[in-house]
Subunit: 340 residues, 2 copies
DNA sequence: CTGAAAGCGCTTACAG
DNA sequence: CTGAAAGCGCTTACAG
């Protein structure tokens, strides 16, 4: 029972237990080095006083921040599982006894500048990156400055290796699986719809579509692969319209995002085509949109919890750069009733 | 230009500028107390060395954590604007020279326990709460323990005042506006659809619907107000079906969430009714779902940036509990083409 | 206006 | 096994 108004510090606990401050510290940080009897005495005092070490003081002494920096993407609301990702990331980081420190990058500032400041102030021990773009300058900068980080997503560098540690979901593999499943359903003209931004990830998915079509002897030319201007619902609808009006109309669409896919579904329904029967559509991400489609949208769930756990693991050995590729999980729904 | 390998500390800057450490500190924290000439000299050294004070050391000396704790909701993915909110919150907190520390509450632990630990460790200076539930135990606990916090959302206490500082969006006001707009469009039977959880917020919206209907002389009995089991798409559809099959079928639906509203839209379309003409539907939140509806869903945008800014303002004066009610913004789309 | 002193609450070698 | 000492990198009264 602590006296009210008195801060419960190491010194206070020590006085209470009748030992020195260092012994209390040892009980906390090297319990095996202290006599069982004294240890019990000190632990009792810690319990009774509800003592918990002051984080800041401990951090200063150990030269750590106890925090992992995570920069929120500039355009919020575009990443359908940001919420889930942050929850999984925070949980994984907490298991490692740390916490996530959030920050944002002002529009007018150089992207790496805010990272540099945080490092200069020793405000974080390492960074986790997501919303990766092609040739992302952050990755090269952090790697060049030997700052610990782990990235969700590759940067698809034009030359050389991916800088630093990363974990990603195998988009090519998932799209190949989708094509195989659609083929088993009887589809022989399968189109791909992506969008221009995030080229690396989209092209990766497209590669999976193309190679599996090729393997199965299905058409896989550029006339069946469309890139919408951006990742939006209307863009998906008009991309689908273009393909359906062409001389080589597909019966199935492998679409690189749920949002685009919902647009494709809208266009398909507008034309009176029976979704999941004459026409199949698949998305990517398993966002809330995927269940807003009547009958549901077949899509690929990214294993977010596993991604987060892997990121924290990678951070444990910051000196060795490693890459981990995770499998996406096919979620079969009415829009393309695959046999899984 | 700092020597490589040498940490740039206050002491290093002082030596470089030929002054004492305290003077450097004064330049940083009380520049008016130091002679312009020495100040310029010190500032030059700071610039040249790229010095930034070590956060941890500063925090220990000033007895602050420089961090605002924010607990991520247990069920991620349910709050459509969590992403936007966190971005806005982090930005507002950064303006105040601090950062957001994320944490989660384990399923098996008492909700307030994790807050208590963070406080005991002096890991945060204050908390921001959201995903508030009725009679939220966190609010009373924090207020009882005189811990600084600000809440997005009220807890609708059964008795007494709302504990602590809060900011909320006026759901009743927004729903009243929706009813008025629908009435101007010619609708005279307007139903309300909510869901059982988050009763306080839903009931608040329902109150707005009811009072405006009453004011306009429109029916507003319980037969026109339905509460779905939960906030889900199918739930919205079946709630709409029930109302449309009843003897007093409405021509307009004021729905307490976008997700439920999309379900209502699905049911309306399934029946071949022309959305936005014979039947009007409005949602709440202006989530990505609202644009996934063909023609768009009329909905209420919550002023998230303003909410975040207000939370940080409230945190500036933790000793005085205040409440701020913000107006929602009507976003008119095809599902209910209001004159705004 | 400037700097020597004390202190923030810990941890980590290092004697005893 | 235990404790006196030094130090983490700052800030804040307080003399000079």
């Amino acid at each position: 029972v602590a006296e009210p108004g008195v801060a419960v510090t190491l010194r206070y606990v020590a006085k209470h237990a009748g030992v020195s401050r260092q012994t209390v510290s040892n009980v906390l940080n090297a319990p095996d080095r202290v006599d069982p009897v004294t240890r019990a005495k000190v632990e009792a005092a810690i319990m009774a006083l509800g003592y918990q070490p002051n984080r800041t003081a401990r951090n200063l002494a150990t030269r750590q921040a106890g925090l992992i920096g995570y920069c929120l993407a500039r355009r919020p609301g575009h990443n359908p599982f940001m919420d889930t990702f942050l929850h999984a990331l925070s949980t994984a980081v907490e298991v490692a006894g740390r916490h996530v420190l959030l920050f944002t990058a002002p529009e007018d500032l150089d992207d790496t500048r805010v990272y540099a400041d945080l490092v200069a102030q020793r405000a974080v021990d390492a960074f986790v990156l997501s919303d990766t773009v092609d040739n992302d300058p952050r990755h090269t900068w952090l790697a060049d400055h030997e700052i610990a980080f782990a990235s969700f997503g590759r940067t698809w560098p034009e030359q050389g290796e991916q800088p630093g540690s990363w974990v990603d979901v195998d988009g090519a593999g998932s799209c190949a699986e989708l094509v195989a499943g659609l083929h088993a359903l009887g589809h022989s003209r399968i189109a791909f719809i992506g969008w221009r931004a995030h080229t690396g990830a989209v092209l990766d998915r497209q590669r999976g579509w193309r190679s599996e079509c090729e393997r199965l002897g299905l058409p896989h030319g550029d006339e069946l692969a469309v890139h919408a201007d951006s990742d939006c619902l209307d863009c998906g609808a008009s991309a689908a319209a273009g393909l359906l009006d062409s001389g080589h109309a597909p019966t199935a669409f492998v679409v690189a995002s749920d949002l685009l896919a919902v647009g494709v579904v809208r266009e398909v329904k507008r034309r009176g085509l029976r979704l999941g029967h004459e026409i199949a559509v698949t998305g990517f991400d398993d966002s809330v949109l995927a269940t807003s489609v009547d009958g549901g949208l077949t899509t690929v769930r990214q294993p977010i919890e596993e991604v987060a756990g892997t990121l924290v693991e990678l951070l444990a050995t910051p000196w060795e750069a490693r890459g981990v590729l995770l499998r996406g999980e096919l979620v079969s729904r009415g829009s393309a009733p695959l046999q899984v």
